[in-house]
């Protein structure tokens, strides 16, 4: 990747990488929230408001995109994580913001556990017509959506604390 640094500064490179990571996370959050809403509250016939339309998506359509987005967001996050450890975490430690650091540690743990669940989640949604999978599919989707929301918010808070320009 060194050739990139002939054109942009090191700070710009890592900032761009972080923005891509954040944009992927937004897309993942949106897709998983749609899917979780669809499994938690099935739309009722004749109700056509915004909420009903939000949850009336076809869950199986999202599954491959969600798995790809989770992996891509995770890989980019893992790449940035080494820089975070030196240039973000240490200053936050020096400021004594330990709860912020703890919230971020929990994010990395939960996102990792979620990563391991993706193959089974994919399998459940690829067999969405099988009623025997309904309960597991529903609750696993909800758990992954909650993890995604938590990871997004924890990452957002850390970014607010430290900001851009590593």
């Amino acid at each position: 990747m060194d050739f990139v640094l002939d054109y942009i500064s090191v700070n710009t490179f890592w900032t761009l990488l972080f923005i891509v990571h954040a944009l992927l996370a937004v897309a993942l959050l949106g897709a998983l929230t749609h899917q979780a809403a669809a499994v938690l509250a099935r739309p009722r016939a004749g109700v056509g408001g915004l909420v009903a339309r939000f949850r009336s998506v076809s869950g199986p359509v999202y599954v491959t995109a969600i798995c790809v987005l989770w992996v891509c967001t995770f890989v980019l996050g893992g790449w940035i994580y080494a820089k975070y450890r030196i240039y973000v975490r240490i200053p936050i430690e020096q400021e004594g913001l330990f709860k912020t650091l703890g919230a971020f540690e929990l994010k990395e743990h939960l996102a990792s556990i979620g990563l391991g669940l993706l193959p089974f989640y994919w399998h459940l949604w690829k067999n969405a017509r099988n009623a025997a999978y309904d309960s597991a599919r529903k609750w696993l989707t909800v758990v992954l959506a909650v993890i995604c929301w938590y990871a997004f918010l924890a990452g957002h808070v850390v970014n607010n604390v430290r900001g851009f320009g590593l």
Binding site: A38, V39, R42, S58, G59, P60, G78, Y81, A82, K83, R85, I86, R89, I90, F98, K99, L101, G102, A103, E105, L106, E108, H109, L110, S112, I113, G114, L115, G116, L117, L118, P119, F120, Y121, W122, H123, L124, W125, A128, R129, N130, A131, A132, Y133, D134, S135, A136, R137, W139, L140, V142, V143, I147
Partner: protein, 124 residues
């Protein structure tokens, strides 16, 4: 998404991939937490110097922090892959008895353990 009423509603014999994916997902989470608590990374990465040490290695003086997260992921993935593959080899009768609900129950059960493992950070 709920089932189409015209589709089968009984549990089919679990396929080998289903068993592998289920056991992999459950084992990955559990092993990840165990590796975290027991300090069992497959390797240690020192981001300040780009050095990689096998297993657990403490931070070196004047070389910045040590990172274990990558090593925990590798250890967990290896262990979960082995357990998943072994489970997939079980007879179909036994494979079908593994509760699917463990996939979402295990992460919830691990949450208090993770919160406890991070108790250092919850100081007031």
């Amino acid at each position: 998404m709920s089932a189409n009423p015209e589709t089968p509603s009984t549990t089919p014999a679990a396929s080998r991939f289903e068993t592998f994916a289920l056991v992999f997902g459950i084992a990955f989470g559990i092993l990840y937490v165990v590796c975290d608590l027991a300090a069992w990374p497959m390797f240690t990465y020192h981001p300040g110097t780009d050095r990689i040490d096998p297993g657990y290695a403490p931070a070196r003086r004047d070389e910045g922090p040590a990172m274990y997260w990558y090593g925990w992921l590798a250890s967990s993935a290896l262990g979960a892959s082995i357990l998943g593959a072994l489970a997939a080899l079980l007879p179909a009768k036994i494979r079908g008895k593994i509760p699917l609900s463990l996939a979402w129950m295990v992460p919830i059960a691990l949450l208090p353990v993770l919160l406890y493992s991070l108790k250092f950070y919850w100081r007031w």
